[in-house]
């Protein structure tokens, strides 16, 4: 029984690990947007592929402070309290690795195509 629950949890985890956004613009012609949740000391989805020009908003749902900090220095949020957000628009294609400066084992990558 426990094994089955664990397997189900693993499957559920896989579902949120990676997401690819469609390249199409929204119907009103505005730049595409995406949201990443910071929850239970993890960025969800863990990896994300978006078209160039996407504005990504992170929202912290943990009671602990977290940051969204680019490994290459492209962007850096302040400490985000629960409910606070940080947004960045990814203009150029590339892979953008980032982490939380307070909990550096929280790592993720945005792929911009």
């Amino acid at each position: 029984m426990r094994k089955r629950i664990r397997a189900a949890a693993a499957c559920a985890a896989l579902l949120v690990l990676s997401t690819t956004l469609p390249a199409a613009r929204t119907s009103d012609g505005a730049a595409p947007e995406a949201q990443i949740g910071i929850e239970h000391f993890a960025f969800r989805p863990e990896t994300l592929t978006v078209p160039a020009g996407t504005r990504i908003t992170w929202v912290n749902r943990d009671e602990e402070l977290h940051t969204v900090t680019s490994s290459a220095g492209a962007f850096a949020s302040a400490g985000l309290e629960k409910g606070e957000t940080f947004a960045y628009t990814f203009a150029a294609p590339g892979a953008y690795a980032y982490f939380c400066a307070l909990h550096p084992y929280m790592k993720s990558t945005i792929t911009v195509k």
């Binding site: 000391f41 943990d62 009671e63 602990e64 400490g79 982490f99 307070l102 550096p104 790592k107």
Partner: protein, 306 residues
């Protein structure tokens, strides 16, 4: 860095206690001397460790973290043996909130001790790489960089900074320069000198998965192993936990602000909400006593509820 498995973790947990913990370092229970201050000889003294005051924290885990810090100070001021000094093992502030360092300085003015020694936690340095912290507390430390050592009544104290290279490795880190300094600093001492090392992130691999370890901590411990009595004090994990490795005893301290879950018992570390009547049983301070001629130091964790 060796990873910790569940079994190893449970072995660590065997050292865990809540409430008042009387630790027998090296098999000698010497904590009773604290209760008999009248018998103390001239060389005896005690000091206090506080940690993770997180001034500026507001959340469900503790609606008023400055109030619990004030309670901790009241406990210190009421100790039967006044401490010679206080060590603050980091995370003075909660994420360098504006004005938080000023509040820390203001609140700690009321502590009845000769002096407070500080080392930073990652919350004190992550925004500006330590600029504000070192501007306030760098004076008197090695090249103004935060690490330091001093002697007090025959005991050698070493404060290490292991949060400035936090980003790169995901773990605490001391760095080459600080390690070289440490090696030289303790080289001149006889092996019989009692050592107290204080730092923020655990020096030993307590739970690397949550960043509760120092990447190059083993090298530092290597420089300390020849000494007959080494007491390593840290904060960061917001709970009392001990481990003995030969003559080296490791002690993680409680926070005065909020508790954190035991390793592996939650999806991640961070403020842990407990029923209000339990909170003060999980926050506290630590008293450490030194008795001349007796090498193990007596380490007593006192909760705010006790």
């Amino acid at each position: 860095m060796a990873d910790i498995d569940r079994r190893g973790f449970l072995e660590c947990m065997a050292w865990v206690g809540t409430g008042i913990v009387w630790t027998a370092a090296g098999g000698v229970l010497s904590s009773r001397t604290l209760a008999h201050a009248g018998e103390a000889s001239a060389g005896d003294f005690s000091f206090v460790q506080i940690s993770d005051t997180h001034v500026g924290f507001k959340g469900e885990a503790n609606p008023d973290a400055t109030a619990t810090l004030r309670e901790a100070i009241a406990k210190i001021n009421a100790l039967p043996t006044p401490p010679a000094f206080v060590l603050h093992t980091g995370d003075l502030t909660h994420g360098q909130k504006p004005g938080a360092f000023d509040s820390v300085a203001e609140i700690l003015k009321s502590v009845r001790a000769e002096r407070v020694f500080y080392i930073p936690g990652e919350h004190d340095v992550f925004l500006d790489g330590g600029k504000e912290y070192l501007g306030r507390y760098g004076a008197g430390t090695v090249d103004g960089r935060g690490w330091q050592s001093f002697d007090y009544r025959g005991v050698h104290f070493v404060g290490l900074v292991n949060v400035l290279s936090y980003k790169a490795s995901g773990l605490g880190g001391l760095g080459e320069e600080q390690l070289e300094w440490l090696e030289k600093d303790v080289q001149r001492l006889p092996s019989s000198a009692p050592l107290v090392v204080f730092t923020h992130v655990p020096l030993w691999a307590l739970y690397p998965k949550w960043g509760w370890a120092t990447a190059d901590g083993e090298r530092a411990i290597g420089y300390l192993k020849r000494f007959g009595s080494v007491t390593v004090l840290n904060g960061h994990i917001h709970q009392a936990m001990q481990k003995v490795e030969g003559t080296v005893t490791f002690h993680a301290a409680m926070s005065t602000a909020f508790p954190q879950p035991a390793p592996g018992t939650a999806p991640g570390p961070g403020p842990m909400k407990v029923p209000e009547d339990r909170l003060r049983g999980l926050l506290g301070l630590r008293e450490v006593g030194f008795v001349e001629g007796r090498s193990p130091l007596a380490v007593v964790d006192r909760t705010l509820a006790s």
